[in-house]
Symmetry: C2
Subunit: 345 residues, 2 copies
C-alpha cells in the first residue's frame, strides 16, 4: 500500500471535521475545527492543510461536504467546485474520492460535473456505516447546525429524500442544531413572569447559549462564534438569552433566564421529534423501535427520540466518542478503506 493513512473529511459551512484511519492499526482519530467558511472561504486550502498536519505519506482522501450551501457561493455547482479545488490545491499528491448521495465515491472531475450527486451526502455515509451493524433503526445525528433522521430498514438505508430540499420535506433533515441555531428560529415566544413574551427576531442568542446555561455543554463545547462577540461563560450566555426578550441581566433574574432556556430546549426537542414522527409515519409497518443517536447534540437526539417513544443507543458505543461526534468524516474514511480492501469503489 502506497498510502499509510486514509483521511475522511466532512466539510461543512461552519465546521470542518477530519477522521484519520491508520492503514496498519485501523485506529480512528478525529480532528475538528470551527471554520466560518462563508466569511473566510479563501483560507480553506490552508485550513485543510493545517488540519491534515503533513505527517502522512500521500494519504488517500475521502470527502463529503455540505459547505456548497454556504452563501459565499451563488450555486451549489460553484460551491462543490470550490471545495474540490481547495482539496486539490492543499493536497496535490493525494488521491481524492468524493462521496455521493447514492453511496458511491466519485473522482474530483465527476463531482464537478454532477455537483448535485455529491452535495450534502454526509448523512448517507453515516447511515451506510450504521446499517452494517444495525439492521433496523432510526439514525438521529444532531450536529451544531442541522439534524439528520435516517431510517435503516433490514440493513439498508431507507431514506426518501436525496437532496437537501427533498430531505427538508421528508423530515429526514431538520435544520436545527445544538450550537449555531438562532433562538428566533426555534421559538416565537418564551415565558416571562408567567406570561408569554414574543422574542426578538435578531441574532442575539443561539442554541449554544441555551445548553451552556442549562448545563449539557461546557465552555469548550461552545465551538461556534458567540452572537455578540463576548465570552462563552454561563453568565455571558445568560445575558444573551435575556436580550432575546429585549431585557438585560439588570432586570432578569436567574430563574427568568432558566424559564426561557427550558422552553427553548423543549421546543427544539419537539421540532426534532416532529421530524422523527414524520419519518416514522412513512415507514408504516417497518417502523424501528431503536434510535442510534449521535453528534455533538447527542443529548438533544436522545431527548427527541425518547419523546417519540424510541429506545436509544449511542453511536459512540460502536464507533468511539470522537468518531461519533464527527460521524460522517469517520464514515467516509471507513467506507473508502473497505472499498480499497475489497478492490471495488
Amino acid at each position: 500500500m502506497l498510502s499509510d493513512a486514509i483521511l475522511g473529511w466532512d466539510v461543512g459551512g461552519a465546521n470542518i471535521k477530519m477522521a484519520r484511519i491508520d492503514a496498519e492499526s485501523r485506529r480512528v482519530t478525529v480532528v475538528e475545527r470551527a471554520f466560518p467558511l462563508w466569511r473566510e472561504f479563501d483560507r480553506l486550502p490552508s485550513v485543510l492543510a493545517s488540519l491534515e498536519g503533513g505527517a502522512w505519506h500521500r494519504p488517500v482522501m475521502a470527502v463529503t461536504m455540505t459547505a456548497e450551501l454556504a452563501d459565499c457561493f451563488a450555486t451549489k455547482r460553484e460551491g462543490v467546485a470550490f471545495v474540490v479545488g481547495a482539496f486539490e490545491a492543499a493536497f496535490p499528491a493525494s488521491t481524492l474520492w468524493i462521496y455521493g448521495v447514492d453511496g458511491r465515491f466519485r473522482s474530483a472531475e465527476e463531482a464537478r460535473q454532477q455537483p448535485i450527486d455529491v452535495a450534502a451526502a454526509n448523512w448517507m455515509a453515516t447511515a451506510t456505516l450504521v446499517a452494517r451493524a444495525t439492521s433496523d433503526a432510526l439514525l438521529i445525528d444532531v450536529g451544531s447546525t442541522t439534524t439528520d433522521i435516517i431510517p435503516i430498514v433490514r440493513g439498508r438505508v431507507a431514506a426518501e429524500g436525496r437532496t437537501d430540499p427533498a430531505r427538508l420535506r421528508s423530515g429526514e433533515l431538520v435544520y436545527t442544531g445544538c450550537l449555531r441555531t438562532p433562538i428566533c428560529a426555534i421559538v416565537r415566544s418564551a415565558p416571562l413572569g408567567g406570561v408569554w413574551c414574543r422574542v426578538a427576531a435578531e441574532h442575539f442568542a443561539v442554541a449554544a447559549d441555551v445548553y451552556r446555561w442549562l448545563g449539557p455543554i461546557g465552555e469548550d463545547d461552545y465551538t461556534c462564534d458567540t452572537p455578540d462577540g463576548r465570552g462563552r461563560s454561563r453568565s455571558d450566555a445568560g445575558a444573551r438569552l435575556a436580550r432575546m426578550v429585549c431585557a438585560d441581566r439588570e432586570t432578569l433574574g436567574d430563574a427568568d433566564v432558566t424559564a426561557i432556556a427550558d422552553h427553548v430546549a423543549l421546543a427544539q426537542a419537539r421540532q426534532i421529534a416532529h421530524g422523527i414522527r414524520q419519518v416514522m409515519r412513512r415507514l408504516g409497518a417497518a417502523q424501528p423501535r431503536l434510535a442510534i443517536v449521535a453528534g455533538s447534540g447527542v443529548f438533544l437526539a436522545r431527548a427527541a427520540a425518547e419523546s417519540a417513544g424510541l429506545t436509544t443507543r449511542d453511536l459512540s458505543a460502536e464507533l468511539g466518542v470522537d468518531a461519533a461526534r464527527a460521524a460522517p468524516a469517520a464514515a467516509v474514511a471507513l467506507l473508502l478503506l473497505e472499498l480499497m480492501s475489497t478492490g471495488r469503489r
Copy 2:
C-alpha cells in the same frame, strides 16, 4: 430664539433617522441612514455629526432611541449612557432633551440615571403626536425591524406596556419588520413543489428579499445589509430566497421563488395581525375601527390592519411621506417644539 432649528433623532440599532424642523417656516425634512451600530458603535458621534451637517446654529436636539438594546452593550444602562454620550460628543454646543416612555423630556443626566425611562420610547412619541389629531385609532408603525401597535382611545395613548419586554407581552411590540427580519424568524416551512418544506435556520435571506422579489420595495428601499453581501437586485433577492430551502436558482424557477415569498409575506402580515387582535381584545368596548398606518413597511401595516377588519389611513397624509417613514424622529422634534412654544417641557 437662539436656535434656528429643532432636530429630532430616532437612534435605532440598525438605522438612524433625523427630522429637522425649521424654527421659522416649521417645515419638516428627514434624513435617514442605515448604520449597524452593534458593529461600528465607535463611529456613532461622527455619524450623528455628518447627518446633522453642521448647517445650523446651535440646534436644539430631541432624542429617542432603541439602540440601547444592541448587543454591543451589556445592559440598557450602558447603551443609554453610550448614546447620550455620543450626542454630547458630537454636539457640545447643543441642548439635549431625551424623550421618555411617560411622554416627558429629560436631561442627559436624568436619562443616564434612569435609563429604563428613556429606553425604547420612540413609539410613545409617534402615538402622542397621532393622538393630537385622531381621538380613536390603532397606530400601526412597521419599521425595518419591528412593529408598534399602539391604541389611542379618546385622544390619549392607551398603551398597556411601557418597557420592551412588557410591550412584547401585550402585543404592542411585534419584533418583525419589512427589511431586516430573518426569514427563519417568520416561518418554519414554505411551500415547495406543492409540499411543505422546512426552512434553513440561517441568516440566508431577510424580509427585504421577500418584498424586493414581490415588488413593494425597490432597490433604494433595501437599505439594510444583504445577508450574503451580494447585490439588492430582484435576481439577487431570489437567489437568497432559494437558499432558504437549501436550493439554488439552478434548481428553482421563478414560480417556486414566488410561492416561497408569497407564503412568507402572508405569514408576516398574520404575525402582525395577531398582535393587533391581542391589543384589540384588551380594549373591549373601546376598540377603534381605524388604523393609522406608518413606517417603511406601511404596505405590511395596511395588509395586517385590513386582515384584522380595520379601515386604514396613512400617517403620510397627515405628516408628509418623509416624516411618516421616520415618524418617531419627526414626532420628538414636533413635541419638543410645542413644549418650547408653550414654555413647558
